[in-house]
């Protein structure tokens, strides 16, 4: 499937924005300017963007503790997100949520999630709503390899299958459930083979190649939109940073991260493909890089200048009315 020039530029820009957002956080967390627990998505960008480029604002996604990439790919305001991570009053969640709880209902982003396996049941519910609305909307849950061992995830997939819901279960297998290798905690041959047991059409694919992700998702999401019931996919991918920022990653082989950065970087793979095929030039990419870098700089500048929340804000938003 041939993508138009604007689509290629958009895809690259989204992936690059996620990468630079995360690289900035990685540097800034070491200075102590970002409070709390932060889990970075760098390395997995092709999945979030390859999926979300097939979605519109009428579609929903749910996310994980490693959620910044999903949020950006789904169209959450990058400046508002940066403000949120700095704990500012005008962040997308008013400084109440932080990294693990970024959300924006207006773009169908139903929340990053601090609970492993918290998202798939919610996506199942959003898919139920989409089915009842009858406008062709779908709901996608992004979750990691760790989440496939949570009971509520099993229950959600079964419910989606029996109700033929337009839900899409995306498993991003970056090989490490926190600090433990997936081979130890997943007894089945793969996540995909397990999910098939629920009667859900499932595919296993390379999550490092944007084009493969985009194509696979185009097919699966179309199938779900057309009312054929839930679909699922397991993408093999890698993360460049630890489970959380500060994780020394002693469970990875010497040289593994360097090798991933060199040979398994989804952004590099994308660039090589589009330049070799003459779809985008080095110059085109350089221009997009500049745009992304200015956006990130702008977001940091604004985040640092934004007002702090005040003590009275603690008890607002607990209820709509009480």
């Amino acid at each position: 499937m041939q993508l138009a020039r604007e689509e290629l530029e958009q895809a690259y820009k989204q992936m690059k924005t996620i990468r630079e957002f995360e690289e900035h956080l990685h540097r800034e967390i070491m200075t102590g300017a970002i409070p709390g627990f932060t889990h970075l998505y760098a390395g997995q960008e092709a999945v979030a963007v390859g999926v979300c480029e097939n979605l519109t604002n009428k579609d929903y996604i749910t996310s994980t503790h490693r959620g910044h990439g999903h949020c950006i790919a789904k169209g959450v305001d990058v400046i508002g997100m940066m403000k949120e991570l700095y704990g500012k009053a005008d962040g997308v969640c008013k400084g109440k949520g932080g990294s693990m709880h970024v959300a924006d209902m207006d773009v169908g982003m139903l929340g990053a999630n601090g609970i492993v396996g918290g998202g798939p049941p919610l996506a199942t519910g959003a898919a139920l709503a989409a089915k009842l609305d009858g406008k062709g909307g779908v709901a996608v849950s992004f979750s990691g390899d760790g989440s496939c061992n949570q009971g509520p995830v099993f229950e959600a997939m079964n419910i989606a299958a029996i109700l033929k819901l337009p839900s899409v279960y995306v498993y991003e297998n970056n090989r490490y459930s926190e600090h433990t290798h997936c081979s130890y905690v997943i007894a089945s041959e793969s996540i995909a083979s397990r999910v098939e047991g629920f009667g859900i059409h499932t595919v296993k694919a390379n999550g490092l190649d944007f084009f493969e992700v985009h194509e696979v998702m185009n097919e699966l999401i179309t199938k779900a939109r057309e009312g054929n019931g839930p679909v699922a996919v397991e993408f093999d991918t890698t993360r460049f940073y630890g489970h959380f920022e500060g994780d020394p990653q002693d469970y990875r082989a010497p040289g593994e991260l360097e090798d991933d950065r060199e040979n398994n970087d989804c952004l590099k793979i994308f660039k090589t493909k589009v330049t070799e095929a003459g779809l985008l030039s080095e110059e085109d990419i350089g221009k997009l890089d500049d745009e992304v870098n200015s956006l990130i700089e702008e977001s940091v500048e604004q985040a640092k200048a934004s007002p702090l929340p005040s003590a009275e804000d603690v008890t607002t938003d607990v209820y709509v009315s009480y």
Binding site: K96, G117, N149, Q150, G151, T180, L308, P309, V314, T315
Partner: protein, 337 residues
């Protein structure tokens, strides 16, 4: 006595009990760490806060067991193993994740003995960390001890010092009932003298942290040090306080609390949970019911507000009790006319 951190004191208790009784097993997410990695030797994590460090090396994977991210599975496996004669010490990484395994605790472990007419025991410990103070936001900062304390059949321990961490965990492991063991995540690096060798702190026996005449402060966990700071500042104004750490909220040392309130005539309960149906309201009701005639002022509760724990530093700070807030409330109570 050896100076140890709260974390080391907990490890010490686990180590001693695993060496003493081969039925004691440890299980949880990353309690070993690195399992299955084609690259790393297992054992280097020892729990995300390092409490189970060294247990795998000493006792092997059969007794220090890495688990998938499956909280319901972990809690249920522990409960079943306990019914069948083991003494599992399961770890739920953050108490917030107990939401995923509440059925196994509330409907299973807590009720076996009663439902089966006293013919079963479920000697499991579920260790978990709780509390705010690290800007970890709403799903990693809760203090759920009131909810768990409200469930008959579960015992609840929450140490505030390294010595109590060791003594209470040892007692928990030897207890025949299921014990939910709350460790405050900001206390792991706290140092203090810890008894060497076997050290047991009985359940249901409060620690009198300090003695005074004017007001009784009741608190647990991290709030104890907040109370101590407030009491020092109050002493400069000539106000002295009893500080009581119940150490276990179930069973509860009611006598220690009531004796103190009878002496001082005033009570302030400090806890970092929201106020409704809470530990603070429970203790306040106890005093109001049992020693009403001794009270010289209304019983006061200093808690978080009725909201989830927020993320931003300024919001989390506003949510939590503080030494200053405690000092002001005690002054108000002491000056009540």
């Amino acid at each position: 006595m050896t100076e140890k951190t709260y974390r080391e004191a907990l490890t010490d208790a686990l180590h001693q009990e695993m060496a003493r009784d081969e039925n004691v097993i440890v299980m949880g997410e990353d309690v070993v760490g690195g399992s299955g990695s084609p690259h790393a030797e297992p054992g280097f994590v020892g729990g995300v806060f390092g409490v189970t460090s060294g247990l795998y090396e000493e006792f092997g994977i059969e007794r220090c067991i890495d688990m998938p991210i499956s909280e319901a599975g972990i809690a249920g496996t522990a409960a079943g193993a306990a019914l069948a004669g083991k003494r599992p010490v399961a770890e739920i990484m953050f108490c917030d994740f107990m939401g995923l395994c509440l059925d196994q605790l509330m409907n299973q472990a807590a009720k076996f003995r009663y439902m089966f007419g006293g013919k079963a025991t479920c000697p499991m410990v579920l260790r978990t960390c709780y509390g705010a103070g690290m800007n970890a936001a709403s799903q990693h900062s809760q203090s759920l001890h009131p909810m768990i304390t409200a469930i008959p059949g579960l015992k609840v321990a929450m140490p505030s010092t390294p010595a109590d961490a060791k003594g209470l965990l040892t007692t928990a492991i030897r207890d025949e009932d299921p014990v939910i063991f709350f460790e405050h995540k900001t206390l792991y690096a706290l140092s203090g003298d810890v008894p060497d060798g076997e050290h047991l702190v009985p359940f249901g026996k409060a620690r009198i942290v300090s003695e005074g005449d004017d007001c009784t402060l009741v608190a647990t966990g991290r709030m104890i040090s907040f109370c101590e700071n407030a009491a020092q500042a109050l002493a400069d104004d000539g106000i002295t306080c009893d500080i009581i750490d119940p150490r276990t909220t179930s069973p509860l040392d009611e006598d220690a609390i009531l004796d103190s309130v009878e002496k001082t005539g005033r009570l302030v309960v400090v806890d970092e949970t929201p106020p409704r149906c809470s530990f603070a309201s429970d203790i306040a009701a106890l005093a109001a019911s049992e020693v009403f005639s001794s009270l010289k002022a209304p019983v006061k509760q200093l808690t978080g507000p009725h909201s989830p724990v927020p993320f931003a530093k300024e919001l989390e700070g506003a949510f939590l009790p503080s030494p200053n807030k405690i000092k002001d409330l005690v002054s108000e109570v002491v000056n009540y006319k």
